[in-house]
């Protein structure tokens, strides 16, 4: 165990997800799960690279992205600190959305779709809607 460090990063090189994005997602997840809250310090770049042997620029890029999203702030010479948490705003929205999704899933099953078809349908629609967002 590593005292002092709030979270520890991991890296999965078998997915197509770029390493910096994996770090961003791990911080966002920790914020959502309340593992990190305002004022907490993220591990320093040197700590991260010495621990999981990744490129320092990857860590910097991840932290810059989190800063751009207004979740963390860098204090030069000190470190990077959490300034906003994700848990409150999203949990409030979770309930109704989850409720709707459960109802939709029940409807899909009644329509005769099996798990695999539901997943394929979800993935397909998800991609179509994010592609619309880009275009």
């Amino acid at each position: 165990m590593n005292r002092g460090m709030m979270i520890e990063f991991t890296l999965d090189t078998r997915t197509g997800v770029p390493p910096y994005l994996q770090l961003v997602q791990q911080v966002r997840r920790a914020l959502r799960l309340d593992l990190l809250s305002e004022g907490d310090q993220l591990p320093t770049v040197k700590e991260v690279v010495a621990r999981i042997a990744i490129n320092p620029n990857t860590v910097l890029k991840a932290y810059r992205e989190l800063e751009h999203d207004g979740l963390v702030a860098a204090r030069p010479g000190v470190g990077t600190f959490v300034v906003k948490t994700l848990s409150d705003s999203t949990i409030a929205a979770h309930g109704p959305l989850r409720h709707e999704l459960v109802r939709w899933l029940a409807k899909a099953r009644r329509a005769g779709l099996d798990d695999e078809s539901i997943e394929a349908l979800f993935r397909d629609s998800f991609r179509a809607s994010s592609a619309e967002g880009i275009a």
């Binding site: 078998r14 197509g16 770049v45 010495a50 490129n55 320092p56 990857t58 592609a131």
Partner: protein, 298 residues
């Protein structure tokens, strides 16, 4: 922006055989660059030319804006870890540090001794008795303690066990974070490259097949799967890197700068290994003939 390594028409010949021929590339500063390619692509030859252990038979090479090993100052700017991390078997760890201090004007004794202590190596230990991992760490320490601007490593971790490999890369990355040194390393281990590098160069038969930051490479390549497709009808911003077809299905790996709008394709993200393999399988200038061969085989 200066390139750390820039070559133009670079070649090295042994007798009648060219180990490297007509190689033109530019590696930007401030990156950890992974150099990959099949055996015999010319990776080691290129790296040995960059540190000045070999001299070119044709073309030009500049390293940090100067000619490799042209003077003591240039020698001090580049650190090198050769394949199989050679040491003097009869000399002790301490002897190696003293040798490094004598041979390098910019030697950082504090860094060297600190690193050796951190690794738990005894100064009176003979280098010939070290494990592979310890020897690699000793050679890395020597290369880093001369405080170079560019560190070149030729398959540094190839012969190490997974634990020693991870430890070596941890120290290497710590060095990059601390001293901001540029790194060029060759390796066959794509998973390692994806971890520690942020820039990739794929070299096949002396040619650069693809080069760029790893984030860009991952986001600009996708795999498309769908019903058998006529390749002549691909949009102009989609370059086909690798394709395979059955009577009914087409699976292609493309490079593109935009989203895939054609609903007939299922789009999959690719791993760095997929990208590397696709380019390594692509023989320059032989794409059309390869396609013909495939057609004949079917």
């Amino acid at each position: 922006m200066t390139a750390v390594v820039a070559t133009s028409g670079l070649g090295k010949r042994y007798g009648r055989n060219w180990a490297l021929s007509d190689c033109t590339l530019e590696i930007p500063q401030g990156h950890v660059v992974g150099l990959v390619g099949p055996n015999g692509a010319g990776k080691s030859t290129l790296l040995n030319l960059a540190v000045g252990l070999l001299s070119p038979s044709a073309g030009e090479i500049e390293v940090l804006g100067g000619r490799p090993a042209s003077d003591p100052q240039q020698l001090g700017r580049v650190g090198f870890v050769a394949q199989d991390t050679p040491t003097f078997a009869g000399l002790s760890v301490g002897d190696h540090l003293r040798l490094g201090a004598h041979l390098n004007p910019g030697w950082d004794a504090e860094l060297a001794e600190g690193r050796i202590a951190q690794l738990g190596l005894a100064l009176d230990h003979r280098a010939g008795k070290l494990s592979g991992g310890q020897r690699a760490q000793l050679v890395l320490t020597l290369a880093v303690a001369k405080r170079p601007e560019l560190l070149i490593l030729d398959e540094p971790v190839a012969s190490l066990d997974p634990l020693a490999r991870r430890e070596f890369l941890q120290i290497l990355m710590e060095t990059v974070a601390e001293h901001g040194v540029s790194v060029v390393l060759s390796s066959h281990l794509v998973a390692d490259i994806e971890r520690v590098c942020d820039y990739l160069v794929v070299l096949v038969a002396s040619r650069v097949q693809v080069a760029g930051t790893i984030d860009d490479l991952l986001s600009s390549h996708v795999r498309l799967i769908g019903a058998r497709h006529d390749m002549g009808s691909m949009p102009s911003n989609q370059e086909v890197i690798e394709e395979s077809h059955t009577d009914r299905q087409s699976t292609i790996l493309i490079r593109t700068d935009g989203p895939i709008l054609d609903p007939r394709w299922t789009v999959e993200q690719v791993s760095l290994e997929d990208v590397v393999l696709a380019y390594m399988g692509q023989q320059s200038g032989e794409r059309s003939s390869r396609r013909q061969r495939l057609a004949i085989r079917r």
